[in-house]
């Protein structure tokens, strides 16, 4: 049986919910990140404990294994230095050619390493939070990637943390291109809430015929993601949808979305 205190409590709560839900998006975003900062000590504790475990593991690694890894890294480093020199030469040539043709000069992107500190606790979103914020130069819509491929874009920024909308989240749509056929489409949502490694490549032309294994990269359209970032590979044959109006296919993401620990943010 509802009594007066219950009515008052319900009324207060309803009012509070209405006020919070109707806050302007910027204010709500700031308030959200402020409330989330209550968890900062726990994040710090979690990171320290991870580091301690890692250091303990390092201390247990045998010297022989370390020397072997060191040798391997030296080799990889030398290879990468040669590749970097080649890339520099190509870049210079590209700049000269652009100058000759009269195309706009491309500015190279800078990368900043970030740690993933939070995954969305709700099952119906695919977002994460990283430990870089506005004080580190983060802003909305910056692309986020791993060495394997694209991960998503920054969707909200606080002082010390930022939220990433991962590919497959309804709030992160990516214009994509098939490397082989040069067809363009849009990565819309994950193919299902259980599997975050498969996404739907939609709005392909009605006569497109994609085959498994074809490489999908960003097309550069839309202005958020630069051209040529690896997204993944076509996982199955494309199929017509909406009575043949367009076709769609599922894409297996190159980045392992289930094990994101460190990501790179691309800064212009």
């Amino acid at each position: 049986m509802l009594r007066r205190p219950h009515y008052i409590a319900l009324g207060l709560l309803g009012l509070l919910t209405l006020i919070v839900l109707n806050l302007p998006s910027h204010t709500a975003g700031q308030l959200k990140l402020t409330i989330g900062s209550f968890f900062l000590p726990l994040f710090g504790l979690s990171r320290t404990s991870h580091q301690l475990v890692g250091e303990a593991g390092d201390a247990l690694t045998p010297r022989k294994e370390l020397l072997r890894q060191n040798q391997q890294l030296r080799l990889t480093n030398q290879q990468l230095q040669v590749q970097s020199m080649q890339a520099d030469a190509i870049l210079r040539e590209n700049e000269q050619l652009r100058l000759l043709v009269g195309w706009q000069k491309q500015t190279p992107w800078k990368l900043k390493l970030a740690s993933v500190v939070v995954r969305d606790p709700a099952n119906w979103w695919q977002t994460a939070q990283i430990d870089l914020g506005s004080r580190d130069g983060m802003r909305v819509d910056l692309p986020v990637l791993t060495p394997a491929g694209l991960v998503g874009r920054i969707s909200a920024v606080g002082l010390t943390r930022s939220q990433i909308a991962l590919i497959g989240n309804p709030g992160c749509k990516v214009s994509a291109i098939i490397e082989k056929t040069r067809e363009t489409g849009i990565i819309t949502i994950a193919s299902g809430p259980l599997d975050n490694s498969l996404v739907v490549l939609s709005y392909l032309s009605s006569n497109s015929n994609l085959k498994p294994g074809q490489v999908v990269t960003t097309s550069g359209l839309g202005g958020i993601f630069p051209k040529g970032i690896m997204i993944g590979q076509i996982a199955e044959d494309s199929r017509p949808v909406e009575f043949g109006l367009y076709t769609e296919a599922r894409v297996k993401l190159a980045a392992n979305m289930g094990a994101l620990e460190e990501v790179w943010v691309m800064l212009p």
Binding site: H6, A9, L13, L33, I35, F39, P121, N123, P193
Partner: protein, 182 residues
């Protein structure tokens, strides 16, 4: 008023949200993250006062939404509705029975995400839904159902250990001692 119980409940809610957001083990194994908040709400509504239920709904709802892509405050109402419904019927519920705890936890864990999704859809949000969501819903409900009796055991034990207990009076009084003569 005994403040140990509300503080313990709020602290557990805070830690539970942090664990849900930081550790993905359950999500990798079962495909869904289990939410402890409905189970805590069942415990709070059967063991505490209405202000505590209100405080738990508001604070845990805000904390949860702050780490999620949910609009801020959307989780408050479903949690409070479940809490207040149980609170109003708490006189009829056998709170010490395992079956009652499990059933209430299961129902609360099923209702809270369903109501949250309903609110999200009514605010024109587009959460990621599909056939897999039914599996996630079942995992969340069952997980909540199993965790509710655990919550009761844990909190009852902690309360027993930490709370002030009034000294029970026995019937012995020195002035009423019967002096037996020879």
């Amino acid at each position: 008023m005994n403040w140990v119980n509300p503080i313990l409940i709020l602290l557990t809610a805070f830690l539970a949200i942090f664990v849900e957001a930081s550790f993905d083990g359950v999500r990798h194994w079962l495909g869904a993250q289990i939410d402890l908040l409905p189970a805590l709400m069942v415990y709070a509504s059967l063991s505490s006062t209405l202000p505590v239920v209100l405080l738990l709904a508001v604070l845990s709802g805000l904390w949860f939404d702050s780490l999620s892509a949910n609009p801020l405050g959307i989780t408050i109402l479903p949690l409070f509705l479940v809490g207040v419904l149980i609170y109003l019927r708490r006189g009829l519920i056998l709170r010490d029975q395992f079956f009652a705890q499990f059933t209430l936890g299961l129902t609360a864990s099923a209702i809270v995400p369903a109501l949250t999704l309903l609110l999200l859809l009514s605010t024109r949000q587009t959460p990621l839904l599909g056939w897999g969501s039914i599996w996630q819903w079942l995992v969340m409900s069952l997980g909540g159902g199993i965790l509710t009796p655990v919550c009761f055991r844990l909190f009852d034990g902690l309360n027993h250990a930490l709370s002030y207990r009034p000294v029970s009076e026995n019937s012995f009084r020195p002035d009423r001692e019967i002096r037996r003569g020879r």
